[in-house]
């Protein structure tokens, strides 16, 4: 499996979640000050790193690769379908688009009524931990199914976090113009494509094009998704 493709998938997936986490950390920072916001985020990052370090290498060490590929592949298809179908619903107008500015405004308003420092720390910690848990799951599954290439998956996730934090420092406001749904759509397709390929490997399916089959699978899901979006849009318009 191409390590750059692995790192790229982790990068895009992590960027989406990092945007959501940083929005809430910004809200905490502006209402409760930066020390509790940054402390909460740092503790959550530490907890996430511990989860990845404790589970990832152990999975590769104790579970045979075909079993790992089948289990993780099926998990990624399940997990990726949830992302992909939400993105399809959003494109078809069946689910509201994520609005980071609205989330920031709502969170700021809620935090302004509470003045305890602990609340700021807890809010930042929870936001980074919950959003980061998805990143941890993606890093562990991608790294393990690729035969223990955690370094590439971690590199993609860390680069995404650095890029989003740098952007937040420069902009000093929530990311209202990030094409979040397009990114979620792309991540969904990448996750289910990897999942399909690896579960097939686990089942000893003779893929006709070897490693390059991932691109064929990717194209298949992309075409199917575009057809589904077009069909759902027409249905939504017809109902309205």
């Amino acid at each position: 499996m191409n390590p750059l493709l692995l790192a790229g998938t982790a990068f895009v997936a992590s960027s989406v979640e990092a945007v959501e986490a940083v929005t809430i950390v910004l809200a905490v920072g502006y209402t409760h000050g930066w020390p509790p916001a940054l402390r909460g985020a740092a503790w959550a990052c530490g907890a996430l790193a511990a989860i990845v370090l404790a589970t990832g290498p152990a999975l590769v060490r104790f579970v045979p690769l075909p079993v790992l590929q089948l289990g993780i592949g099926l998990f990624l298809v399940l997990f990726g379908f949830a992302w992909l179908r939400k993105a399809i619903w959003r494109y078809a107008g069946r689910k509201a688009l994520h609005d980071e500015s609205a989330i920031f405004a709502r969170q700021t308003l809620a935090l302004q009524s509470v003045h305890e420092r602990r609340v700021g720390f807890a809010t930042a910690f929870n936001a980074v931990l919950i959003e980061g848990l998805e990143i941890a799951v993606i890093v562990i599954t991608l790294g393990a199914a690729a035969g223990g290439r955690f370094a590439w998956a971690v590199l993609g996730a860390v680069m995404a976090a650095v890029a989003v934090i740098a952007l937040a420092i420069v902009l000093r406001k929530p990311f209202s113009r990030v094409p979040e749904n397009a990114m979620k759509f792309l991540v969904g397709i990448m996750l289910v494509s990897f999942g399909t390929y690896w579960s097939g490997e686990g089942l000893s399916i003779p893929w006709r094009f070897g490693d390059a089959t991932v691109f064929v699978i990717l194209a298949g899901y992309a075409i199917a998704s575009f057809i589904l979006i077009a069909f759902l849009r027409r249905r939504t318009v017809a109902i309205a």
Partner: protein, 59 residues
């Protein structure tokens, strides 16, 4: 348990069902003389599963 399933699969019923059918079909085809089509059938069942899950009620 419900929260974990919501986190992993977005509460879809069609997805785990489709996955189970795809795995059974892949295993069955490999033992028949149709092993060459296993990949295509596996992929096709998963695409149909995606379509079915999209037509589930959004939560």
């Amino acid at each position: 348990m419900k929260a974990a399933y919501e986190f992993v699969a977005g509460n879809s019923v069609a997805t785990p069902l489709g996955l189970a059918i795809a795995v059974i079909a892949a295993l069955a085809l490999q033992h028949a003389r149709l092993a060459i089509y296993t990949g295509a059938v596996f992929m096709l069942i998963l695409i149909v599963t995606l379509a079915a899950s999209v037509f589930e009620k959004p939560n």
